[in-house]
Amino acid sequence: MDDLRKAAETNIKEYGFPVAIDEKSGALQWVDMRDLHLKYVISIENIQNFYEGLREGKLLATKCKKCGELFFPPQKDCPKCMDDDMEWVELKNEGVLETLTVIFVRPPSFASYDPYTVAIARLDDGVKITAWLKGDPQKVRPGQRVKVEVSKRKEGYLMYEIVPVEG
């Protein structure tokens, strides 16, 4: 794409338009002059406690005060009771690995990371959690005991990760 863009820039001067030839097909392409950069701003107003918890090394979920349903990822509303009377509870940070994958082909926004392992674990409370798995993915299998730990990301912010339990 960068090559196409360079060709288009040259061609504006030489040909009069931002055009370039697609190498494989030989077909003439107009190279869009408009860039679109996406960055979202997402509300965490109603799950602030979750981040407070992470700061203290705790993994928090919401629990409906009426029916006791546990929600992870935490959510503001209980759709069973049609109510929003929730309390924050600390999850058992141990459980069992359910499945995993190693992401080799990464999105450009994750290019600064080496191939990473994403896993889903079922915590002993019954809820499941998706996170990166720490350590060698070849040494773990579904069914393996794991725990959830809070650690710092490369970018400097806190995040939870799944860590195999020895033995």
Binding site: D22, S25, A27, T99, I103, F104, R106, I120, K128, W132
Partner: protein, 393 residues
């Protein structure tokens, strides 16, 4: 009101730098209208399935209204991730079923290669739960299905080689389909030796990034009679299911619950026995965006019992002549997967197969007169199962 497909068309799938969005779409619309013998003025409603984002044009229905010189027609754009095409068929089908329209043009089109591959990878990764899966953990689309593949391997003892055999089959048939992106066979070794994308998936386990279009003309039973249309297939039943955004909210990773539900609804509507539905069908197109997804589809669609889908692969039961031919158009794997066009292309395939118009070497025996299409958006976030038949139910 029964609904029939009275015309169908599709473009060549692949890298289509030679056409823009409207030109690509017209490559499907023109043969669809010609085979149905309809003109622009006959169309009551136009549904366009396109997921978009990676291509420049957003208002595709209006673009096609202009390019195709349509007049006085309602239209809408539909999106359901990779099930966008079948969602568009759903809208057209229900519009006729309800009596709201008589003749509907359903178009699926996607020009994914207007954006560079890294951007497309970035955008597709967001077809799950953005905040809890992508933002911090970078789950890519192959990654989502790989989580299912790994769980399936652990539970049922399937291997990477088993999955590769699905790719070998679909390339075998893609080689016989002039509309397919990849028209070449591959060996098991080639598939197994390709680089990892998201373990256990390698390059040849994954469907490609594709440009393409497909279109069908739907008509009411009344119109079919009025026009005396002979070449047609009927929509016998359709089921639609939805799954959770977060995979962590799913009970199981060895099945897509939304697909199993959609299948149940579709079989019931079509009057098909749930114990052995394959006995009622001549073939199926299933959503093989990744090889393991095809194996899981066999089970969700009850072509095999739980855990036995992999046996169908090992015994080559989904080739022509086996228990049920699957993806004899090459599937998403070899035919290509232009997101919005895929579901409509499956309908085009059902039309070709049931009317015995498929190319040499990939025509199934039409004995039961029924064909199934299974189209999944996201990782079971949206599932559509549609059953087409030669005879009206």
């Amino acid at each position: 009101m029964a609904v029939a497909i009275i015309g169908a068309g599709q473009s060549k799938f692949g890298t289509r730098k030679d056409v823009n969005v409207a030109e690509l779409a017209w490559e499907a619309v023109k043969p669809a209208m010609q085979s149905a013998n309809v003109e622009q003025k006959d169309i009551d409603f136009m549904v366009v399935g396109t997921a978009g984002m990676w291509s420049s044009e957003a208002a595709v229905p209006a673009l096609m209204y202009e390019y195709g010189k349509f007049e006085d027609v309602g239209s809408m754009r539909v999106e359901a991730a990779c099930a966008t095409g079948n969602a568009a068929i759903r809208v057209g089908y229900t519009a006729i079923e309800s009596g709201e329209a008589d003749v509907v043009l359903v178009l699926g089109v996607e020009k994914m290669q207007e954006s560079p591959n890294p951007t497309v990878i970035e955008l597709i990764g967001r077809f799950g739960s953005y905040f809890w899966e992508f933002e911090n953990f970078g789950l890519t689309f192959p990654g989502y299905y790989a989580l299912h593949a790994t769980a399936y391997m652990a539970k049922y003892g399937a291997t990477e080689e088993d999955f590769a055999r699905v790719a070998v089959k679909n390339h075998h048939y893609g080689a016989k389909n002039p509309y397919a992106q990849f028209q070449r066979e591959i060996s098991l070794e080639k598939a197994l030796n390709s680089p990892y994308v998201a373990w256990p998936f390698k390059l040849f386990d994954c469907s490609p990034i594709t440009d393409g279009s497909a279109a069908v003309i739907l008509a009411s039973e009344e119109k079919v009679k009025e026009w005396g249309i002979e070449e047609k297939i009927w929509i016998l039943g359709q089921g639609v299911g939805t799954g959770t955004a977060n995979l962590s909210r799913r009970e199981s990773f060895t099945s897509l619950r939304s697909a199993a539900y959609a299948a149940e609804v579709a079989y019931k509507k079509a009057g098909i026995d749930m114990d052995a539905p394959y006995k009622y069908l001549d073939g199926a197109d299933v959503h093989d965006c990744f090889t393991a997804a095809e194996v899981i589809a066999y089970e969700d669609l009850r072509f095999a019992k739980r855990g036995e889908g992999v046996q169908l692969v090992r015994e080559e039961q989904t080739y022509i002549g086996g228990r049920i031919p699957v993806n004899v158009d090459g599937g998403l794997k070899a035919k290509g997967h232009p997101i919005g066009a895929t579901g409509v292309s499956q309908a085009v395939e059902a039309w070709k197969q049931l009317l015995s118009k498929a190319e040499n070497g990939r025509q199934v025996d039409v004995k039961n007169g029924r064909y199934l299409a299974h189209n999944v958006g996201g990782t079971g976030h949206y599932s559509y199962v549609t059953i087409y038949g030669l005879e009206k139910r």
